[in-house]
């Protein structure tokens, strides 16, 4: 039973990822794409978690954390880039 539910969940995750990928490709503005990529990262977290249940191993929990961090950093970097044109500023006005 649990097996079936997990597979179903994986399928839904994949479908949602496809929808997000469509948004990445189509997305009229850059902000749309960035949001879609961030959501893909969250989906990846979910997929990894589900797969580690399938494989019945907890070796992949670190990967989940890592994807979360990377997605966050990536999104923040994009946001800053969109806002200011640069990611790391050279002169800092304290």
């Amino acid at each position: 039973m649990i097996e079936f539910i997990i597979r179903l969940a994986l399928l839904f995750c994949s479908i949602s990822m496809l929808g997000l990928i469509y948004r990445v490709i189509k997305g009229p503005s850059v902000a749309d794409r960035v949001i879609a990529l961030d959501a893909i990262g969250v989906n990846l977290v979910a997929i990894t978690a589900l797969i580690s249940i399938v494989l019945s191993s907890h070796a992949f929990l670190e990967i989940i954390l890592l994807i979360g961090i990377l997605a966050f950093i990536g999104t923040v970097a994009f946001a800053k880039y969109l806002e200011k044109g640069v990611i790391i500023e050279r002169e800092r006005n304290h």
Partner: protein, 801 residues
Amino acid sequence: MSFLHLAIVAPLILSIFIPLFYRIFRQIHAGWFVLPLPILLFVYFLTFLPETMSGKSFIEMINWIPSLEINFTAKVDGLGLLFSLLITGIGALVVLYSIYYLAKNKEKLNNFYVYLLLFMAAMLGVVLSDNLIVMYAFWELTSFSSFLLIGYWYERDKSRYGAQKSMLITVFGGLAMLGGIILLYIMTGTFSFTEIMSQANEIFNHALFVPALLCILLGAFTKSAQFPFYIWLPDAMEAPTPVSAYLHSATMVKAGIYLVARFTPVFGEHFLWFLLVTSVGILTLIWGSVFAVKQTDLKAILAFSTVSQLGLIMSLLGAGAAALHYEFLDENIYTVAVTAAIFHLINHATFKGSLFMAAGIVDHETGTRDIRKLGGIMHFMPITFTISIIGAFSMAGLPPFNGFLSKEMFFTAMVHVTEMDIYNLETWGILFPVLAWIASVFTFVYSMILVFKTFTGKHQPEKLDKKPHEAPMGLLISPIILVSLVIIFGLFPNLLSDSLISPAMASILPSLLGAGEEFKVHISFWHGPTIELFMTLGIIILGLVLYKTHFRWKKIYKGIPEKLALNRFYDFVLEGLQSVSYKLTNTYMNGSIRSYLVYIFAFLIVILAATLFGKNAFMFSTSNVSSIGVYEVALAILVVLGSICILFAKSRMTSIILLGAVGYTVSLFYVLFRAPDLALTQLVIETISVALFLVCFYHLPKLRKFETRMRFRLINALISVGVGAIVTLIALSAHSSKLFDSISKYYVENTYTEAAGKNMVNVILVDFRGFDTLFEITVLAIASLGIFGMIKLRLNRRKEG
């Protein structure tokens, strides 16, 4: 280190000190320091005469590279001694001549004598080495020192051209000879000539025998200026006249003759040897003599005459090799050819040396060597005239000079060739005496032109730079000694027969001699009204007629020889090689990395496919394939789709993101195949590299930022598909043919017990195989330092300010 070795290297040792003497004693001509050495050596070599006359030879050995069987073995036998005496004797005369010929203040005498001494040592080494590799080393040294001597006046274009030409041709032949030596070594297992000679019969039918024969002959023909390699010799006449007299008449050009004579016991019985040596010799003889008539420069006439006379000696050696077919000495009429060859070798060295020196004197005292400007200087230079006329008459083969005797013997040998009952010579052997006779007629004509056009006729003072007068006595000593020898050997030829010719024949034809026997050489002036005498008479009559009328028929030369001149062919080939290789290099080295990648990948495909299918290595079995799950299929589709979309993406941004997507999917593969550490690293690295790509993309120059799709190129498509296919095939074959189990079991069992860790990947990285990790760390360090350096260190920009 014996005296003999010291004698060979003595000129080398002296050559070290010559520049020193030259610097210290500026008032004394440097040649005086050189002169004693060849005289001493000549006397030293004379002491070997009794030994070689009794049929013995003298061997001294010092080890050089014993592990490779290369030892400096010096051997004095009849042939070697004859050449050593020529080299040192004429060497001494040439040094004496050069002292008066080259001015003390104007010339670079230190260079000249260093080169000359190098050459002398090299020549002695060639003729006295028994070890073939050592002989080859000296052989190349003769080529180099000859190159230096020809290019002595290096500020002249023609000198450099001549030096380069002679270098290219003789080194080409030298390398061929090295090939022959190595082939001989493969066949016999030794570099020692004496041992090779003793195995001559065993290797006769070896598959490498003929290639070795051809290689050795190529070396001999190029060095001795045989057809068609004679072309360097006339251009070598740009050297100072003492050099021409020494190298290009008496010694170096006879190195090839020496080689042929030396190898006759090994190769002589083979038909090819007889055919090539005899016919190339005859061809060179007639070609050289015909072309010599055309020349107007004294030294050019002499150069072509040298070519022709060398051909004569060569053909005699070839005919003499036929004597090896008859296993007995009595009434073996073909040995006369060898006698004639050696006799003419000596004679040629004497008369040609004197003629060159005479030509040098004429040049020195009148300022020109052109026979069209010269004429009527007999009264100004009576001694030079006498020298020239004796030399030229000897060259033409007139009695009572030594050239007459050797020419008679030459005819005898050539007539005997027609009587041979081997190789079908009854039918086509008649060509040899006929060609020899025609060539001798031309020899007569150019000899007459050489003397009478220069010294008789009308004096033309307006064409000469200087007022002609007789040369100083010092210049005349050497040619006078040489022409005295011409007369002495002419009148008393048997002086030489027992002392030099017979021992030399014993080294050329050793198999014909039983124990204690020796060749009985008797050269007689008058041997009755034989066919040779009538041939000589015919030469004189026809030659005189042709000489008297030569201004009429000389016009024929204008049409024919230009087309036949091999110089043009040489220049054409040299130029062609340069331009063709330049074009070739420019075609494939076009500077575009794309083309180079095409070559690299195409080569990869061809070589791998050929190996895979040529060795029948392709295998495909599914025996150890695990089952395929639905997740793997889904991920694989993602990777493939991503990769294909990269190819067709319109903007670079899309490509970068798709590349990132492929990378992330790969990390999902790692998750699926249970490699958490890899997945972690892959995710982080992929993120960073995508970020770096974006940085690069952002900084593209605005002007070139075309957003175009990648263009389709058929070749690129074919090659990329090919590379993919071939790598896939190899992966399949490799996976299908696992030969032994993996060693991972050891790690599984010992990770915790031996290394105290539970994460096997990490234990392998830092414990079992930590060395790799260390240097991966180094790679990263270098990369980061490199990036830092590239960004910070902007030398160019700083220079521009």
